[in-house]
């Protein structure tokens, strides 16, 4: 398992460099659409000069399910240039609602997995065509009961479009805690993808507490237990696990989490069948 760290803004470059120098991370996940105005030559030079490791591309604001075709063409042209040049380990994007009735949602909303399926499927086909690239789509940290439909939705979407899932383990834990989606429901998705996310989450201010995907604190014990239990299902050739942090950049805290992840996924000789049975039994 390669362990990575997300890079979204210039401010965190010194932190990312220290994590790399200490061997705590193996790659950097770029929130690539934050850097589209950086001239491509400069972007390549800066990456080569500062990070010197492979990159993953995480697309945040393509809004590919909602955005008009001309804007997607323009975005895809620029992203393709960077994909060709930087050869990322994966290219990922989000399945969520960014707007409603033309109004921008600042806390992204979850799609309706049943009634939105056909449109999302067409949009995924179109976006993969435009990018000339298989996309890995990230699962949403469900709050409401619609989250129960998510695992089957992703399995169907993968079958129909050839996309992959960027499976965010802590988002699945959020959905489990908020609306009871069993972690076992994701086993097929986890087994079928090599690309993962994980991050800390926090509780809503008001009660009943919602578990919110805040990326601002240490990994929870529930997330760690999930990763440990299903370690062998996550780990596979070419697998990546990006640790996301977007606020409260406490370096000791981050280092401790990265070390915990490294320990979980440390190579070991293991009977894979035994690991699989343990995963099923303890969920």
């Amino acid at each position: 398992m390669r362990i990575g760290f997300n890079f979204t803004l210039g401010d965190t470059a010194p932190l990312v460099r220290r994590l790399l120098a200490a061997g705590r991370i193996d790659y950097v996940e770029l929130l690539i659409d934050n850097f589209l105005a950086v001239p491509p030559d400069d972007l390549a030079d800066e990456l080569a000069g500062h990070f010197t490791v492979p990159v993953g591309f995480h697309i945040m604001f393509s809004k590919f399910i909602e955005t008009d075709e001309a804007a997607l063409d323009s975005l895809a042209r620029r992203l393709r240039g960077l994909i060709d040049r930087l050869k990322p380990l994966y290219v990922s994007d989000h399945v969520a609602r960014f707007t409603h009735d033309g109004r921008q949602l600042y806390h992204l909303a979850e799609i309706d997995y049943a009634s939105d399926y056909d449109r999302v499927r067409r949009r995924v086909d179109g976006w993969q065509d435009r990018l000339g690239q298989r996309l890995f789509l990230e699962n949403y940290p469900s709050i409401m009961d619609g989250g129960h439909d998510a695992p089957a939705f992703y399995e169907r979407l993968v079958r129909d479009t050839g996309c992959g899932v960027l499976f965010d383990a802590s988002n699945a834990v959020c959905a489990h805690l908020n609306c009871g989606v069993p972690l076992e429901a994701w086993e097929g998705v986890i087994a079928a993808t090599p690309h993962f996310h994980t991050a800390g989450y926090n509780l809503s201010i008001l009660q009943p507490h919602l578990v919110l995907d805040t990326h601002d604190r240490a990994l929870s014990e529930a997330t760690m237990a999930f990763l440990e239990r299903c370690r062998d299902r996550f780990d596979k050739p070419g697998a990546t696990m990006t640790y996301e942090r977007d606020d409260n950049f406490d370096e000791d805290d981050i280092v401790a989490d990265l070390d915990r992840l490294r320990a979980v996924f440390a190579p070991r000789i293991q009977d894979r069948d035994h690991g699989r049975i343990a995963c099923l039994a303890q969920n």
């Binding site: 890079f7 803004l9 210039g10 401010d11 470059a13 770029l30 659409d33 934050n34 850097f35 589209l36 105005a37 950086v38 001239p39 400069d42 972007l43 800066e46 990456l47 500062h50 604001f61 393509s62 804007a71 323009s74 975005l75 620029r78 609602r97 707007t99 409603h100 009735d101 033309g102 109004r103 921008q104 949602l105 600042y106 806390h107 909303a109 979850e110 799609i111 309706d112 009634s115 469900s142 709050i143 409401m144 009961d145 619609g146 908020n178 609306c179 809503s204 201010i205 008001l206 009660q207 009943p208 507490h209 919602l210 919110l212």
Partner: protein, 192 residues
């Protein structure tokens, strides 16, 4: 009222309420839906007052004297709450009881906040944006980052020869590169 609405099952059932403070009261106080809407609204609150804390001098520390009526007005006007969020707050302030207390500094901070939001969120090929206002002579520009090691920049320009004022309260033009153009391309009205 809570009794008149079917209990929401999925997130999409709440879409109409995620931007409208008054709609929160449609759901029971101890429900996940109520807290979900609260969580959504808090982000709009922080996006406004964390970036322009000068607004709190007008509203009081909880901001609600501005936030609640503005969000209700924005919903009635179907405003997109995109990068122009702060500019429409300025438009609302000018017709509110706070209008005599809005200083040029506060207005410039709202323009800077909108320029910054454009510079971080816009995904078009433009590199910068210039904002002009009917009542202030200066231009406020936002520039997308040109290096992975830095971030967006906001600049205020005092021109030797001020540009003609936009027709509406604000106007903008986008800039391909990372410097003000020689000619004036004319104002585009800000999107709603």
């Amino acid at each position: 009222m809570a009794a008149s609405l079917a209990l929401p099952r999925i997130d999409a059932d709440l879409l109409d309420a995620l931007t409208v403070p008054a709609r929160q009261g449609d759901y029971p106080r101890d429900s996940r839906a109520f807290v979900r809407i609260d969580t959504s609204l808090r982000i709009y609150w922080h996006t406004l007052f964390d970036i322009c804390p000068g607004l709190l001098d007008l509203s009081g520390p909880d901001g609600l004297a501005i936030f609640r009526p503005f969000m209700a007005w924005a919903a009635a006007e179907k405003l997109s709450l995109n990068w122009t969020y702060y500019l429409w707050v300025d438009v609302w302030l000018a017709q509110s009881a706070f209008r005599d207390r809005v200083t040029p500094e506060l207005r410039l901070s709202l323009m800077g906040a909108s320029a910054a939001r454009w510079a971080t969120g816009d995904r078009s090929e433009a590199g910068g944006i210039a904002l002009g206002c009917a009542g202030l002579p200066d231009l406020v520009c936002g520039w997308k980052t040109r290096s992975i090691l830095s971030g967006r920049r906001i600049e205020q320009f005092t021109l030797e020869e001020p540009l003609p004022p936009p027709d509406g309260p604000f106007g903008f033009f986008t800039i391909a590169g990372d410097d003000l153009p020689d000619g004036f391309p004319g104002w585009t009205p800000i999107p709603r």
